[in-house]
């Protein structure tokens, strides 16, 4: 009798602890939001609301792109529990393929982008089969080194094939260089379309993961490899699906970025750092976290660079670094990441 009671008590304590854990997460997210809001109010009052809104728009434009890249990183992390350091270069290669389709073969840009997404999905599926699957997924160092090798190969190969010239990537959206005014701030139509495209991609990926059989298998594998194996899920093919999906999303993000910057083999470097920051901040295994953190990083970058004089555009990467280190010190697995329990 007494034993049952004590067991019940300890179970109750366990639930209370879980609740506190959730609370802690809410507190750290709340603190982050409070800091952002306080900062926004101060600068909006000091420098005028229109400028503030303009910076919000700029920040969102960056943030949605980081969100898309971070989503690709998270997909691969969920599939292989490894950070794909070649993600940016895969996206760069996909963007070059879209460029070749559009520029040399004369295919209309939106169609060229979709074709390039398919091509890079195929390529990533091949990479997974040949380079990643032979390794034990628990051997993180080996798989990470493989992705670093891929980084080098793709980057230099693009340099050999397409050289290091800057190329203009055509915008896939109608209304080139035209903008409209929202409360005095300018918003380019193309930027609005970029946000919508990324949102559509997020929606599509989450539908794919929640409504299809392969999506269910993917979530099962990312939850527990061993149990999924016992359930008869083909692990290799499911992970291949994850890589293909990530590459397609990455290529989409790459083409969105190449529209604003110029296309050359190193153009993803800067974006990749912010996307890494976003994926880490959100927790490497949370898709929603990646999207939210991507937007947060975009806003932090634009706001801190725009309003704090000495930071400017040079120190913005440093600010992103400081933010992720600060968050990770409080929450070692990111804002939305799942906590790991270790067993001896």
């Amino acid at each position: 009798m007494a034993t049952t009671q004590s067991v019940n008590e300890s179970i109750g304590k366990g639930y209370a602890a879980l609740g506190r854990l959730g609370q802690k997460r809410m507190i750290s997210i709340g603190v982050l939001i409070a800091v952002l809001v306080a900062f926004s109010i101060i600068v909006a009052v000091q420098h005028g609301f229109t400028l503030f809104l303009q910076r919000i728009f700029d920040g969102l434009s960056n943030g949605f792109i980081y969100a898309a890249m971070a989503m690709a990183l998270v997909l691969i992390y969920k599939a292989t529990t490894v950070v794909n350091f070649a993600q940016g270069e895969m996206a760069m290669f996909g963007t070059f393929i879209a460029y070749v389709f559009g520029h040399s073969l004369g295919i209309p840009t939106p169609l060229a982008i979709i074709l390039a997404m398919l091509a890079s999905a195929l390529g990533a599926a091949g990479i997974e089969r040949v380079l990643i699957r032979p390794f034990d997924p628990r051997n993180h160092l080996a798989v990470t080194i493989v992705t670093l090798g891929l980084f080098l190969i793709l980057n230099s190969l693009a340099g050999v094939i397409w050289a290091y010239d800057n190329r203009a990537f055509p915008s896939p959206f109608p209304g080139r260089n035209r903008s409209f005014s929202v409360l005095g701030a300018n918003l380019e139509w193309a930027n609005l379309f970029t946000w919508l495209t990324v949102l559509a991609a997020v929606l599509l990926v989450s539908l794919l993961l929640s409504r299809t059989k392969i999506g269910l298998a993917f979530r099962s594998v990312s939850n527990s490899l061993e149990s999924s194996e016992l359930l008869g899920i083909h692990i290799g093919r499911t992970l291949q699906f994850g890589w293909a999906l990530a590459a397609a999303v990455g290529t989409l993000a790459g083409t969105m970025i190449a529209r604003t910057t110029l296309l050359e083999p190193n153009f993803m470097g800067r974006v990749l750092i912010y996307s890494f920051a976003a994926a880490t901040l959100g927790g490497l295994d949370s898709l929603g976290g990646a999207v939210v953190a991507g937007i947060v990083i975009g806003l932090v970058q634009t706001m801190s660079g725009g309003y704090i004089g000495f930071i400017g555009s040079d120190l913005a990467p440093t600010v992103a670094l400081v933010v992720i280190v600060a968050v990770l010190l409080v929450r070692p697995s990111g804002l939305f990441g799942s906590k790991r329990v270790e067993r001896v």
Partner: protein, 432 residues
């Protein structure tokens, strides 16, 4: 089976060990006198080739430092280029602006990098695995942007170099090459760098055999078990990060001694990745692996890009096979970056075929020729002489002792001499 079997502690084994070290020493000293005969291969400018050899020494030290974090304590750090850069800029700023001598700056950059490494390593106490890899990667990315931002101090994208001949390294007159003209300075730099590097390699080697070194290996192999065994994880992790950064900083100073010019592009993300490539290619978790790693890092890109413009220097056997490739590359604008492709492919080949790196391959090859049977000193002491412990042939043990003799001996030792237990544990730590 191996061709030759040697028992540890026998004169033959001693001769083998001394001989191996002597050959290594002769190779290193040969470089000093080789300027008279030129350097194989190719008819390259001697001073330039010497500078490249000096580069190898510097990068070997950098990889050695990285190995402390990745290979020995199992934390994936991708930000080592920042520490090398910090050391380099410390040296170049002190020499150019404050007229220090180069050697005096080495301890300063080591201390500075140790402190910064501790600070960067602080997240490592809580963050682990790939989160840490991402954080350190962004450190590597951020460093060049800081250099550009504070260009009044660092010279920014234009780079920084001391005024002509400030603190130039000239050999003292008693050195045999002091009258070698243009070659005297790089030769003297070679000697200095070699001394620093040898000291650091010995330091790390002995450290890994010490108690903290073994604790590090325990942290790498199973962090939780290590913590349960009473190893202070935060302390060891932070100190390892600091020490590794300090060695990286010394490597940066050494680079500046060799080529007194620092710019932001030298110490960016590519260096961070190439250091990891060198580490894996040489052999993660081995001390000597840093040397082949650095050789690959310095010479492969050099020859690759040289061959895209001029195929005459290529070894004749390879020439016929690779001719179509280099013909295709010739005249292409981005042809120089073919080295990156080769690096990447080579890295993949290493991970697939030789996960232990170059050194592991050498060791496997060596084990086919020479096999050393362990016979540690404490076991020899136990039997009072350099004679091997009793085997089944000796009358004293009565024939029941099998090849598991060391274990039996260890148990016996514990009964006879409690002090030796620690040594027995040390032995086991070494073999597993």
């Amino acid at each position: 089976m191996a061709l030759v079997t040697l028992k540890e502690g026998t004169p033959a084994h001693r001769a083998y060990v001394i001989g191996a070290w002597a050959i290594a020493a002769i190779v290193l000293i040969y470089v000093i006198f080789a300027y008279r005969w030129g350097f194989a291969p190719g008819s390259i400018d001697k001073a330039f080739r010497l500078t490249q050899i000096n580069d190898v020494i510097c990068y070997a030290v950098a990889i050695l430092g990285l190995n402390l974090v990745i290979g020995f304590s199992g934390q994936l750090s991708l930000g080592h280029s920042a520490f090398v850069g910090l050391g380099a800029y410390t040296t170049i700023i002190l020499v150019a602006d404050h007229h220090w001598s180069y050697l005096a700056t080495v301890p300063v950059s080591a201390a500075l990098c140790f402190v910064i490494g501790l600070v960067v390593g602080l997240p490592a106490l809580r963050i682990r695995g790939l989160y840490l890899a991402v954080v350190t990667l962004s450190v590597a990315y951020v460093f060049p942007t800081l250099v550009v931002k504070y260009d009044s101090l660092t010279g920014g994208p234009n780079g920084k170099k001391p005024a002509r001949d400030t603190g130039k390294m000239n050999p003292p007159s008693w050195m045999p090459f002091s009258n070698a003209g243009r070659l005297a300075s790089p030769l003297w730099v070679y000697c200095i760098l070699l001394v620093i590097a040898t000291a650091l390699f010995l330091l790390v080697r002995n450290f890994m055999k010490s108690r903290p070194g073994r604790a590090l290996l325990a942290v790498r192999d199973n962090q939780t078990s290590a913590a349960v065994s009473g190893i202070n994880l935060p302390l060891y992790k932070a100190l390892t990060f600091g020490a590794s950064a300090a060695i990286g900083g010394i490597a940066g100073s050494m680079l500046m001694i060799n080529r007194p010019f620092a710019s932001d592009v030298q110490f960016g993300l590519p260096l961070a990745i190439f250091l990891v490539v060198g580490l894996v290619a040489g052999g993660a978790g081995t001390i000597s692996g840093a040397i082949p790693g650095a050789l690959i890092y310095v010479f492969v890109p050099y020859f690759m890009s040289a061959w895209t413009t001029d195929q005459r220097g290529m070894p004749p056997g390879i020439k016929q096979v690779t001719k179509p490739l280099f013909d295709w590359l010739q005249g292409r604008q981005g042809a120089g970056s073919i080295a990156g492709v080769f690096f990447g492919v080579g890295l993949l080949i290493f991970v697939f075929v030789l996960p232990g790196g170059f050194i592991d391959g050498i060791r496997r090859l060596r084990s086919k020729i020479v096999q050393v049977i362990p016979n540690p000193s404490w076991l020899r002491e136990l039997h009072g002489s350099a004679n091997p412990p009793p085997t089944s042939h000796s009358p004293s043990s009565g024939g029941e002792v099998t090849p598991a003799a060391p274990v039996v001996a260890a148990v016996r030792t514990r009964v006879a001499k409690p002090v030796s237990v620690k040594k027995a544990i040390n032995l086991r730590g070494k073999t597993t």
